[in-house]
């Protein structure tokens, strides 16, 4: 169990970076638009004041409940 103050929020983990030569619309979507879900949200956090690792967190944006934590390359084995 680590303190909240050790972490800073990164971003939505479901965003897919377009290819460098992708159309401008794809880049607009990537840079500006968000799902902004009310409910389960997969996101990156940075352990900035700790081991400096990035982690992936599944969190309920309506209750702040954390449902799953893993490394960035991991995904939950079962749908939560």
């Amino acid at each position: 169990m680590r303190e909240h103050t050790e972490f800073t929020y990164g971003e939505d983990a479901n965003r897919q970076k377009p290819e460098i030569d992708a159309p401008i619309e794809d880049w607009n979507t990537y840079i500006y638009e968000r799902d902004n879900v009310a409910g389960y949200h997969m996101e990156y956090w940075h352990h900035a004041f700790g081991c400096r690792a990035w982690i992936k967190v599944k969190r309920d944006t309506q209750t702040h409940a954390i449902l799953w934590v893993g490394l960035p390359q991991e995904n939950p084995e079962i749908a939560l």
Partner: protein, 418 residues
Amino acid sequence: MGKYNALSIFWHALCRHKYWQRVWRDPQPKLGYDAIIVGGGGHGLATAYYLAKNHGITNVAVLEKGYIGGGNAGRNTTIVRSNYLLSDNARFYEHGMNLWRTMSQDLNFNVMFSPRGVLNIAHTNAQYDVFARRANAMCLNGINAELLSREEVLDREPIIDGSATTRFPVWGGILQPLAGNARHDAVVWAYARGADQLGVDIIQNCLVTDFIHHGERIVGVKTTRGDIYAHKIGLAVAGNTSCLTSKLGVRLPIESHVLQAFVTEPYKPLINGVVTFGAGHFYVSQSDKGGVVFGGDIDGYNTYAQRGNLPVFEDVIGGGLALMPCLSRLKLLRNWGGVMDMSMDGSPIIDIGPVDGIYLNTGWCYGGFKATPASGWCFAYTIANDQAHKLNQAYTLNRFASGYTIDEKGAGPYPKVH
């Protein structure tokens, strides 16, 4: 309903206050309206009021999922200002200031607008230069701004730490003397009463759950109180905008974040105007009741919970104590959180679309309260005329795609830095 004046108070007092009427009706929703405004906050109610008053569209329903004054209208720090650098923002918010000045008379309701001055404090020479640039830009847009020296700042607000040992000494400040505060609850109640008197139906406890399509067009909403039809549907739901537009299959340049604010027990007069700390993020004023009202940063992660966490709480209060050490002796009465519609450039969106029949009002970040009258005024114009007024023509949804973002701080495309 009767007009409010000194004579009516006297008469009601003589009658032992037995004959006061409710301030707005509680109607059943009709099947159809000329226009529906989703969201009974300040912006939605102001929109309905100006639709009726300025454009003669009185067959309007305002649908509120909770009760009037229970959302962000009751969760802000009541600051009213127009001290913006960029012309698009400055003109819009200054139009709002003109509406604030006459609001109590216009609505026959005392909104306690108090132009006690908004003072931003600079702590370095470089910061003072940036403030001077903003003050000059404001003057060019016809907004009064004054640069204050260190002595003038300390003279104006004596409780600021002016000692030689303070961590962030005061260098100077920028003052908008005609800005200040207004009573947040009174503003929504006044707009609700004003709209209701002009024939607008204010429907509370009415959650919009989906939209009714007719071909490509949206022609109504499904609600917890039945289906309601209208050809024009305005969305003014702040932090919940993405939830509604997701039902239209539209993603927005918006993230919802929680902003906390705080109020102490009432104390004798301590702070004269609105003061902001330049070395951290902290803004403070004192309510007419005496409570010291303050706030700071958003929590920093997207959320729909109307409450925040303790680290930001500590950060805000740390900023306050660096500026005004005597605040450490005050007792905190309450703190609360509101869900902010943080846009990707820090500026709002008042636009037609993104789907036929829908009008969008969102992206207020944490400056929505001061915008209440100007937002409603411009949104009503846009809905009534199917085109933007020149005051909100820059606040388009497609400005992100076209590159015309209105980024007051030059902070880049991040929702949490504005």
